[in-house]
């Protein structure tokens, strides 16, 4: 069994000689496969999918392409190559050597960070499990599965940390990661946003554009960690996360492209009758996903976030690009808040504002993505701009949780909200319409009408390549 596991699981963590890890994985790996069969992509166990597998961390090893059945995918355990003499570069331990072993004093905090991050990975597979039934092309179907198996691998990465460093508790947490399920009334996923199903492809592309971007920022912040195994794990995961965001961004871009072409062709904004997604609808989906993702960063004023930073466990996005002392014990910053029914700036310590600092990096990055969509719209000579809604819009966590705001940030009352909600967020009719566009296209090279074909194929293959073979 042990030898078998070691051969099945590509890794650079010395699995063959690690009795503790082998013992833990012996139990967990079959449970993971069961989970994949039960809650992974629907009806896809026998498909041969043209997948990229990481079999090493160097440039030769990280992208190995081949047709593979997903249950046979070689989920591996990879850490980015160690940096010699790496030091902790922020918090009260700044300047000390990075921890190679788990620091006992921060055991609870690290476990929590890893479990929260780990919980989102299988959650997204569960949320997306029905999408394979309506893919707009084989190319897109393959991308979906690639994202899915990699989210699975990200789960493996977090489970590796739990198994390798947290003993019995870690093994129990790893089991729980497979026991909680997205949308399960009894054992839901930890974060609310990861319990909603992602059942249409517009939502999938928005998800990979916005939610996976949140993932990128969380991973970047954890990549700064003074706990070196966590940092190295996250650095390797980021290479995969970048692909997920490519799927999201290129997907939305192709929809925008198709919509604009139809608008020009028929000289109308309302392209729905012509089988395309109106820009106004895209805007609603943006409003929804962006606001949900802003919530994922947590409260503007957070003790946990302050602790994680001060302890050296979770840094800022590109920590070393900040021009300050990276300890921040005396600094204050302003964060947005609500006072007396008005939007205001409030002064809090820089430490407690960590969530907000990360959220702002995310907001900037999201805007850059939208700018690219708008450039595409302008290239059709169309005078419409997609916008990110105001940070106060449709929030459930933090300072704006108890209020109602329009997408432009105007505070409104409950009655106005109820009247306008369907203008700003997907309505039942909008969802039904998008649903009506979702028909599977499985002829190699063919693409559904509501989305433009991709610019190029995968790994040099032509667009009409059989990216997925059905059996």
């Amino acid at each position: 069994m042990q030898v078998d596991l070691n051969e099945r699981i590509p890794n650079n963590v010395g699995l063959a000689d690690d009795r503790r890890l082998l013992r833990a994985l012996e139990r967990w790996q079959p449970a993971f496969l069961d989970w994949w069969r039960d809650l992974g992509p629907v009806g896809a166990l026998q498909h041969d999918v043209y997948l990229r597998t990481a079999i090493g961390v160097d440039s030769d090893g990280w992208a190995h392409f081949d047709h593979v059945k997903m249950p046979d995918y070689r989920w591996g355990i990879f850490l980015a190559e160690p940096e010699a003499e790496r030091r902790i570069n922020f918090g009260i331990h700044k300047g000390e050597p990075a921890w190679q072993e788990l620091p006992g004093e921060y055991r609870a905090e690290l476990r929590r960070l890893i479990v929260i991050q780990g919980d989102t990975e299988p959650a997204s597979v569960e949320q997306q499990r029905r999408l394979g039934l309506t893919a707009p092309s084989l190319y897109d179907l393959r991308n979906l599965y690639q994202v899915n198996v990699e989210e699975g691998r990200h789960l493996w990465a977090m489970v590796y940390l739990l198994h390798a460093f947290f003993g019995r508790d870690g093994r129990e947490e790893a089991e729980e990661l497979l026991a909680r399920h997205a949308g399960d009334a009894d054992k839901p996923r930890t974060l609310e946003a990861f319990n909603e199903p992602t059942d249409d492809w517009l939502s999938f592309f928005m998800y990979t554009f916005f939610q996976d971007r949140d993932g990128k920022f969380q991973l970047c912040a954890l990549a700064e960690s003074g706990f070196d195994p966590l940092s190295r794990t996250c650095r390797f995961m980021l290479t995969e996360e970048a692909h997920h965001m490519f799927v999201g961004e290129s997907g939305v871009m192709r929809i925008v492209q198709r919509t604009c072409a139809k608008m020009r062709e028929h000289d109308t904004d309302d392209v729905a009758p012509f089988g395309a997604v109106p820009l106004a609808l895209l805007q609603k989906w943006i409003n929804l996903h962006y606001s949900i993702c802003l919530d994922l960063f947590g409260s503007e004023n957070s003790t946990n976030a302050a602790n994680y930073y001060a302890m050296g466990l979770k840094g800022r996005y590109h920590e070393m690009k900040f021009d300050d002392d990276h300890v921040l014990s005396d600094r204050t910053v302003t964060v947005p808040g609500i006072e007396g029914g008005k939007l205001v700036s409030q002064e809090v310590t820089a430490l407690k504002a960590m969530n907000e600092t990360l959220r702002e990096s995310y907001m900037d990055d999201s805007q850059r993505g939208l700018n690219r969509f708008n450039k595409m719209i302008r290239s059709f000579d169309i005078d419409v701009e997609l916008r990110l809604p105001h940070r106060a819009f449709h929030r459930n966590i933090g300072a704006f949780a108890g209020i109602r705001a329009a997408p432009d940030g105007t505070l409104i009352d409950e009655v106005t909200w109820a009247a306008k909600r369907d203008d700003w967020l997907p309505s039942a009719a909008d969802r039904a319409f998008v649903e009506s566009l979702m028909h599977p296209v499985s002829t190699p090279g063919a693409v559904a009408g509501w989305i433009a074909p991709p610019k190029r194929g995968i790994h040099g293959q032509p667009l009409d390549y059989r990216y997925v073979e059905f059996h």
Binding site: A108, R180, K187, T303, N307, A310, M311
Partner: protein, 549 residues
């Protein structure tokens, strides 16, 4: 001024719903509703204001809802049960406020246990979200804890790892003494910030039952119904209303119908004078119901309770409480007889239990208690408990020269022999004569007799019995001397001397647990500029003095 009087219509943090034999009390804290100070009550955390409402609800359930046999304590919020006492509140509170707050919250949880044990009103808890620190301690005060098994809901006592204080609302004590969690497991549990969930929580007896989230409502209903079945509450009865307590507060005192408090700031004393009923109290159940909240023993309990809390919280500098009574001993004896004759009645039982809890409040008050037994007083039965609760009592031997009142007497009734136990489980009489059965026997033989100063002194019921020539100086000097001592030393001394005899959950909570907690509350590791409580939430990590004391 902190006012303990409230009513469900005015609750900001709790929702009370009664459905037949089952009541549900849901905690839904108004974040912006802090009683004082600049903190937000996030995550269903509580402060004194939240607990005042809880205490009121516990009380009203007993008196106004006789048909309620089971009470479900739950959260009115999603994904969080209760995060315990608000940390910012604790971090910014004075030492006095922290100690007073903890004592009061402990008394409220004890009142919940008293209802379960003695009132036929069984409490249970439904936890479907974080129950941390004081949140889990609330659950510990109930008979049955039901936990949602959703892979994330946990119970925890994170005070030591996160805040460098103790779970001081009975948590440490109840985990090992009440729930009999093995001490090594309890040690692990109390040092694990994230707590314990699901199967392990059940195995370790931290909770009683696990349910899937989707079955929560059904499981709660079934469990509540089962608890209700065992109850001896009446099948048919009407509750009595507890109307707002009428009182006048002035600069130098406060006055209720039967309790008058005179404040002497120069001497640092508050003199509480409790009056006997001025007419014979009703003895038949129907008449007692008709009198309702005006029935003297109940009115007495409510007024004394409020006065004690008022003095504790609003008059911390008045370190000595002088206890006096006024009126006809026979009327007090008649009231006691009415309680004894109807002991099986639910309402009368509630009244006796309320008197018990009120006198316990007096026992654990950090004030010197001095009883003055003078002509015109009525230290009989229930009111004699005041003298027995006192650290010292003076009884005038004879009459005052310029008065035609007859000499004072004291009288024991059935109320002194068991129905009003102290926290140690013994009556005040048995505690007083702990280890001296002969003395206790002699006192019990005197039940019903009017005892003059000489007799009372001989039986050991009073400390000193000076005559009118010595009285004024002896009393004055005793009070002045008392006022000169260190208030802290007095509090510690009195608390150590008052509870002779066996330990109980309550004595451990008010003794061991509270004493350690209050010590920790003073230590630099907690409240110093680099202490954990001071720095909590700032992101700055505490620096501890590593010496063990």
């Amino acid at each position: 001024m902190i006012d303990f009087r409230t009513h469900p219509d005015d609750y900001r943090h709790w929702r009370l719903a009664v459905d037949g034999a089952i009541a549900t009390l849901a905690l839904d804290v108004d974040e912006g509703g802090a009683i004082a100070g600049d903190y937000t009550l996030k995550l269903n955390s509580y402060d004194l204001g939240v607990d005042i409402e809880l205490a009121d609800a516990v009380q009203r359930l007993r008196f106004e809802h006789p048909l309620v046999r089971a009470v479900v304590l739950a959260s009115g919020k999603d994904r969080v049960f209760c995060a315990g006492a608000n940390i910012s509140m604790l971090a910014t509170s004075s030492h006095i406020d922290k100690v007073n707050f903890c004592k009061f919250t402990n008394e409220t949880r004890n009142a919940i246990e008293d209802a379960s044990a003695n009132s036929g009103q069984r409490w249970m808890t439904a936890i479907a979200g974080t129950a941390a620190g004081g949140g889990y301690e609330l659950a510990l005060a109930t008979d049955h804890i039901l936990l949602v098994d959703d892979g994330s809901t946990a119970v925890s006592l994170p005070e030591v790892p996160l805040l460098a204080v103790l779970p001081g609302t009975g948590g440490l004590t109840r985990v090992v003494d009440k729930r009999c969690v093995r001490r090594d497991r309890a040690d692990f549990f109390c040092t694990t910030g994230e707590g314990v969930r699901g199967r392990r929580a059940l195995e370790w007896n931290l909770v009683d039952e696990l349910v899937p989230r989707s079955r929560l409502d059904d499981a709660v209903a079934a469990r509540a119904a089962a608890l209700a079945e065992d109850s001896d509450r009446p099948a048919e009865a009407k509750g009595i209303a507890l109307p707002p307590l009428a009182r006048t507060v002035t600069d130098d005192g406060l006055a209720y119908a039967h309790v008058h408090v005179a404040l002497d700031r120069a001497r640092g004393t508050a003199t509480l004078t409790v009056s006997a009923p001025d007419a014979p109290p009703p003895v038949e159940p129907d008449a007692i119901y008709a009198a309702g909240a005006d029935f003297w023993p109940l009115a007495l309990a409510r007024e004394l309770d409020d006065a004690i809390l008022h003095l504790r919280f609003n008059e911390p500098a008045l370190g000595t409480w002088i206890l006096k009574t006024a009126g006809e001993a026979d009327q007090v004896a008649a009231a006691d007889a009415a309680l004894a004759a109807n002991a099986g009645d639910w309402l009368v039982r509630e009244i006796a239990l309320y008197l018990k809890r009120t006198l316990k409040r007096l026992d654990v008050s950090a004030r010197s208690l001095v009883a003055l037994i003078e002509p015109g007083s009525c230290f009989t039965g229930t009111l004699l408990e005041l003298a027995l609760a006192a650290d010292r009592s003076f009884m005038l031997d004879g009459s005052f020269e310029d008065s035609n009142l007859p000499p004072a007497t004291v009288r024991l009734t059935a109320m002194n022999t068991g129905p009003l136990p102290m926290a140690n489980g013994l009556s005040r009489l048995a505690s007083r004569f702990f280890g001296d059965d002969a003395a206790l026997g002699n006192a019990l033989d005197a039940v019903g007799d009017d005892l003059d100063a000489e007799a009372a002194d001989a039986l050991g019921l009073v400390t000193f019995a000076p005559d009118d020539i010595d009285w004024e100086d002896e009393v004055r000097i005793a009070i002045e001397a008392r006022a000169a001592f260190s208030p802290d030393a007095l509090s510690g001394m009195e608390a150590s001397l008052r509870f002779a005899g066996p330990e109980t959950l309550e004595t451990k909570i008010f003794g061991r647990l509270s004493a350690w907690q209050n010590w920790i509350f003073q230590r630099p590791n907690t409240v110093g500029p680099d202490g954990a409580l001071k720095l909590y939430g700032s992101g700055v990590q505490p620096t501890f003095d590593r010496n063990r004391v």
